[in-house]
Amino acid sequence: MNQEKLSTETEIVVRMSGVSKRFPGVLANDQVDFDLRKGEVHALLGENGAGKSTLMNVLAGMYRADGGTITVHDQLVDFGSPREAIEAGIGMVHQHFMLVPSQSVTENILLGLDEPRFRMHLPQYNRKIEQMAEQYGLHVDPAARIWQLTVGEQQRVEILKMLYRGADVLIMDEPTAVLAPSEIDELFNTLRSMTAQGKSIVFISHKLHEVMDISDRVTVLQKGAVTSSGVPTADVTRADLARMMVGREVVFRIDKKDVEIGDVVLSVEGLKADNEKGLPALRGVDLNVHAGEIVGLAGVAGNGQSELSETLAGLREALDGKVMVHGEDVTNKSVKSGIRQGISLVPADRTLVGTAPNLSVTDNVIMKNYDQSPIGHGWMVNSTEAGNYATELKDDYDIMVPTIDTSVRLLSGGNLQKVILAREISSDPKLMIAVQPTRGLDVGAIEGVQKLLLEQRESGAAILLISEELEELLSLSDRIYVIYEGEIMGEVLDGDIDKIGQMMTGTRLEQIDTQGDA
């Protein structure tokens, strides 16, 4: 490592050539070439499931490649573990932070290091980390425990953790997904200051405007293969990138038919609820959804969205306020009565909440109507009817599964979401609450899900779409509410991104308007 080269633009820090990675049934990376120069931000762009994270996980030592070579500083490497990658100067900041919530910032940063040998002299290390944080503009209190920090601060801890280990290559996996717009700006500033100090950054994203903003060069992956390798970002347009990413012309606006807006289906007034820790999560939410419209709820993750969806579905106790469905008070009614009322919920977590992994497809699709005729019959479940119903849904929604007796744990994410949507839609809901319905799906599956939601809207259902993907909200919704710390900051009718962005960080709509007037 002592061969200090001149920091020219062409110095290649990492070179991956012909890297392939296979998972059972999928070729995640197909002969991928990728190189990273010193001091640049190199964006790795692609849809969900295109193989971006897999490729970088190979570089970071999480997976071993099935083929191809990797060189770091012109040395051939073959990392068997993340630790080996870090020792070679490559650190990855994962999408889900790898931080131990009950431990302090310093403890998290020191985790797994050989220093200190036995006794932890925390104050001494706290100071050291404070200095380092200063150097890169990553402000965070070293003595604070992780669970006390905001998501943005936690991300800084992750970056610090890698820098402390001497990483000069930093892989950021979808770093903006959990951040509010202002936090994103701050992150970008940090990234720029790090490249100025000679670090190289891989920026994984599927958001075009961010890639255009921050990156020097961009490599595009589509279905595991490179469609564009290391072109300077300045030389391409957004439309070029979109085409390379999806493989065809992309329609940025989805065709939405005009639907006559009907009566109010859901109206929520002053709703309050606590989260698991007993802290207030909803502090008086007011909103309404009419028949035939999709109403979006925007917000940075963890601002009360999941608590809201749970409270509406009867899964969480409302401490105050009122939930009305079709004029009927359903506050704190049981989940079951909500189901009977025609409230359906597509939960954010498909495997943890939405399905029972070891039960069959049939058992999973009858979850909401096993006790209703014709499937429920007296005390019994009519297995013939249940089977017919499952077969019907399997055909209608094109669920790819060998038989309806297959355990759903064996289904892919897209098919699992189809099972859930089939179940939730086939009950002809009056109100549908969809939480992150497209998260983690590939392009085709996303389109399918969005189409199903639009069809529901056309058939007169009221849909509350809760999502962290602004683009999705903008393209699907008729109106958008923004939630921040358990309160609705305001409502946007025209899809004004700036306003939404400001509200996501806690500015009320009234305040924005007055500022605008002044």
Binding site: G314, S334, T355, A356, P357, M367, Y370, M380, V381, D405
Partner: protein
Amino acid sequence: MTDTDMKKSASRFKLPFSVKIEPRVDDPPKWFSPMLSVIAVVFALLIGALVIWLGGGEPWKAYAHIARYSFGSVGVLSDTMVKAIPLMLVGLACSLAFRMKLWNIGAEGQFYLGAFGASMIVLLPVLPEDAPKWLFIITMIISGMLFGALWGFIPGFLKAKYNVNEIISTLMMNYIAIEWNNYFIYAVWSEGGFQMSRMFQRNAWLPRFSDLGKTIPFFRGLTTHMGLLFAIIAAVILWWILAKSQWGYEIRLIGDNPRAAEYAGVSIKKNVVLVMMLSGALAGLAGMSEITGVVHRLQGAISPGYGYTGIIIAWLAKLNPLAVILVSILFGALILAGREVQPSGIPTLIQGVIIVALIASDYFLRNRVSITRRMEE
């Protein structure tokens, strides 16, 4: 050889085949899981043989002995059934609770309370001494099941209300149940200072096959009692509940993913209490049938750990009520004839190895192991 040489030869040396383990991408065939259970039992018997051999015994003789003294004639087969009856009922009790991932380790205590509840009818007395037999049987069934259910209700309620770990609470309830019974044996119903109650009068006994001996000579001397009927009826009902009923669907749903069940509107708390109560009632019925069918009095040590063996049986039967009946007969034999095997801990040890092997074999249900020859790669 130098260091580098070693490395080279190590890399050059390759097994002629490679073993690949990967998660299953489809459900294993239906016969696969029972086959693993059989392998686990065979494996455990081999280990048991090894231990007996190490202890200076003759394993094959010991096993032949077990087989002869448990299945060798109609008479001993009947005795095996007598041992199997309580196992069937506690096995069912455990299967039901485990289906919901509710770890009821308290079948032993619920068994004792069931025995107490049944004895109470005779000893308190609840019914006059000369009440008709059918009335005795019905009242004792109800009382035994009620007390078992009560003993299941307490940990069930604590779990539902305070989220108290049911493994520990049901286990603690076992110890309490035994002391409870002891108090009554020593202090209240003691007969002539002995640590047992008086013998029940005959009209409080469950009918046995031998009762028919006068009319059908074949049944003469056969001790198998009516509890067998209870167990089979209970197994069929339980199978029906789990496989066909809405309640059974809820139980399976909660067992597989409680959060999904909650989201589908199924009340977990209510089902925790109900399932614990029914599970306790089944174990209580086991205690009742043992007292009124075999022992005919309340005394100490009425169970050689039936409640714990029930856990193994449930697991070996893969929580299938009908399979519980078959597996119980096997264990009945092990307990009956195992008493004569030396050292005396062998049956417990074999049970232990069976369940350890069984749990370990679950791995093959989730993963596919394939052995391929290098040439083919």
